[in-house]
């Protein structure tokens, strides 16, 4: 009942969630068909699809702050990567003595660097529950502190965009350092299993895909619940006329801060699901380009619709996979051209285009 209420005005959302539920049911079935069947879905496609879904969740998080709050964040990949690192640390601890050096206590890269014991910030990560807590807590706390500073001093617009970019850039430089204790350049990789299930098994991959789909549904519903609530309306008020909202007595800073933190947490979860499916997390995930790309997914899909973000993320990532394999030279031209065309001619993105056609018909 509550769910229906949330999605009352959200036709796109209803479609999206139905599609995701259908995928959750269909994918394991199609995968279990014999491999010579025409309808058989190979496992590697499932892993790629699962990866897309986590990226879509990240796009939803960005749409929440950009579409509804008007904060153009150029650093959301940082929260995504932090969640990914928390998950990566758990997966590293699961390797145990199966690493190249066979050290039961230390991950390979620490043995390689001649470290004698596990740094304090690694303790606890052998516990799945603790690691999952960190997946949301670390990005959440960082977003909270950063947002508290930035919003209280009313840094806004372009300046905010630039310092979010500086934040992710600084984190990238930091994680590239070996001394940080996160594997430096190479990051964390060579994962063996998660919760006792081997990552190389088909069933685990299907399981991770289902987990990603569920995470996307839950993340979507939470975001939608927020935008449909009073706070969500206040958000839009802040986006469209910040001073006016403030004069009417809204605590603009608090609204911005909570939504920003929530969005960072969602991004962290997306990162945590992304890592086991691609098998590696390295500092490159922090690169400013990644954050900006997410913004483009949202822009292409259509700002302030949430499902648009999902569509944009899926479309562009599919195009990226296709182009980088078939025509690697064209990809950046296409992506760059897309930025320009969408901002000039499609301010409301693909979903805006569809809505317009719907209204005309």
């Amino acid at each position: 009942m509550f769910l229906l209420n949330i999605l009352k005005n959200d036709r796109g959302g209803r479609w999206l969630i139905s599609a995701l539920v259908a995928l959750i049911i269909a994918v394991p079935l199609l995968n279990s068909l014999p491999s010579d069947s025409a309808l058989h879905l190979p496992t590697y496609s499932i892993a790629i699809l699962g990866k897309y879904l986590t990226l879509a969740l990240l796009a939803v998080a960005v749409d929440l702050v950009w579409g509804y709050l008007g904060i153009l964040t150029l650093g959301h990949a940082a929260f995504f990567a932090l969640g990914g690192y928390a998950m990566g640390m758990y997966l590293m601890r699961q390797i145990g003595d199966r690493g190249v050096y066979g050290n039961p206590e230390l991950p390979d890269f620490m043995v390689f660097l001649n470290w004698q014991e596990l740094p304090w910030f690694w303790s606890g990560f052998d516990n799945f529950g603790f690691a999952m807590l960190m997946v949301v807590l670390v990005p959440g706390v960082l977003a909270f502190v950063f947002g508290a500073l930035a919003f209280r001093s009313r840094v806004s617009g372009v300046y905010l965009s630039i310092i979010t970019q500086a934040l992710t850039f600084a984190l990238m430089l930091a994680f590239y350092r070996n001394e940080m204790g996160f594997g430096g350049n190479n990051g964390l990789t060579d994962f063996k299993d998660i919760l006792g299930f081997s990552l190389s098994k088909d069933a685990t991959k299907v399981g991770l895909f289902i987990a990603s789909a569920i995470a996307l549904i839950v993340g979507y519903l939470i975001s939608r619940a927020v935008t449909e609530s009073r706070a969500g309306r206040a958000c839009v008020a802040v986006r469209d006329a910040e001073s006016r909202a403030r004069f009417m007595g809204y605590h603009v800073e608090n609204i911005k801060l909570w939504i920003f933190t929530l969005s960072a947490m969602i991004a962290g979860v997306a990162g945590a699901l992304y890592v086991p499916q691609v098998g590696i997390i390295n500092p490159n995930e922090f690169s400013p380009l990644n954050s900006i790309e997410v913004v483009v997914w949202v822009a292409v899909g259509g700002r302030a619709s949430l499902y648009g973000a999902v569509i944009g993320a899926l479309l562009i990532n599919y195009a990226k996979s296709y182009f980088t394999v078939e025509l690697p030279d064209v990809w950046l031209f296409a992506l760059g051209g897309l930025f320009v065309l969408v901002t000039l001619f499609l301010p409301k993105g693909v979903t805006g285009l569809m809505a317009k056609r719907g209204a005309a018909a």
């Binding site: 153009l72 950063f146 500073l149 930035a150 209280r152 001093s153 009313r154 840094v155 617009g157 372009v158 300046y159 965009s161 630039i162 310092i163 970019q165 500086a166 934040l167 850039f169 600084a170 430089l173 930091a174 590239y176 350092r177 400013p288 380009l289 900006i292 913004v295 483009v296 822009a299 030279d329 990809w331 950046l332 031209f333 992506l335 760059g336 051209g337 897309l338 930025f339 320009v340 969408v342 901002t343 000039l344 301010p347």
Partner: protein, 541 residues
Amino acid sequence: MRGITTSIVKLLSLTLLMLSILSASLAAMAGQAQFDAYEARLSKAKFDEKAQIIQSWMSEDRAEALSLIQLMLDSQLYYQKKELQLYRVEDASRGATAVRLSDGAEVQIESKRDFKRVSINNNLRGTFGGWLATAALTDPDPEARREAALELIDAPSEAVVAQVRELSQTETDSSVLAAFDIVLAVADLYSEEQGKPAAAIATLSGTLEPAALAALTQFTASATDKALLAQANKAIDKINDEASFYAGVETVYFGLSLGSVLVLAGIGLAITFGVMGVINMAHGELIMIGAYTTYVVQLLMPNHIEYSLFVAIPAAFVVSGLVGIGIERGVIRFLYGRPLETLLATFGISLVLQQAVRSIFSPLNRSVETPSWMSGSIEINPVLALTESRLYIIFFCLFVFFALSMIMKRTRLGLQVRAVSQNRAMARAMGVRSEWVDAMTFGLGSGVAGVAGVALSQLTNVGPNLGQAYIIDSFMVVVFGGVGNLWGTLVAGLSLGLANKVMEPWAGAVLAKILVLVFIILFIQKRPRGLFPQRGRAAEG
């Protein structure tokens, strides 16, 4: 009569000529014979004979003997076992070439067993080294004399000191004389004569030569006289203080040069972002285009690399400026008043430009040559040498800065730019063609970015990612300095560069950069409009 005289003169001169040729070749033959004799002796000599042989050789042909000593010190002097002839061999393996010293002929080594090195032991090495050094003390080039003297500081033998003392009477070059004084002072440290060690310490305390410091430290280890020991320790402290002072000066110099790079990268952005309020994420790529223009200019004039920069600077200004105008006319003008959309669109343009460069010039870094007048360094004293390229960058940065502020303050374009940025509607009402001004301003900012690219091409690799590396730095500089303020950009760039270099020794380059970024993030919280915020109406909106 006349005919006869002429023919006699001709005959005479011909005879003279023949004679002179004969005598020259006779002399050469004599020299050759001498060389052969020594050559055979040296090849077979034992260690203690070698010094004697070389010494007598030196008395006859000094230059030749010295060059042989050098070869022996470099372990490059070999002799052919059968013929007992000397060869210069860099690589004694089969197939490599050996150069016969008597006539300079090159010979292929057929078996490495044919050649044997004229070996020397440590004792000989010391003796020969000393001879080389003292020989250099009388070199006609003052710089060589000075260096030779400084070489001697480590372990001056009595004979050498005596020679230096004698030479210092006649030496006229002041820098050489100063070096001689240091050598003598080091020798005097251990003198028995009353007052001499004290005077020596006083002399040494006034120099920054590392060898002098080492000599003093060694002296304190063995000295017994309390007063002298205290004086020496004080001198060491003084030298160390001065050295760390100059290390500080060097850090400041590095900081200023890094800061100049940041200013150069940021100042074009200060125009487009600061004055026009346009977020141009393709700014870094305009820098990159400038750097590639330098590369192309050097390709076009490979024989005049020395002058290529003077062609490249205006060329880069024009190329980047035109690309900038293209971006403004093609995309940005549709997005005025929507800064976040401008950001996205220009970011797309930056991706396209990067890929274009990758497709045209390959994704690999291209090498841009540095003209020889820019390389080298100015040695201020033994512990401080300023690299010239950095110096040029600092001056170039100041030049660009003042040129740009003159354009903004003193020209018609600058006036119009300021008018449009302060109040577009009013400026238009007064007859300013605001569209034209927008295009020109953007072209100006982009052109300056291109000029910055020329400077960067001398410092870093020229590749498709050059722009990305500087875009965040440039934004930081502009935001830190305060938007719409060229002075702010200058101060911000230089101080960020300084902060980076000052922190580098104890934090490491990467951590220093992170700290600077974090500092700026915090600084923006405190002063959202930068160091020098705009005031008045222009600040609103």
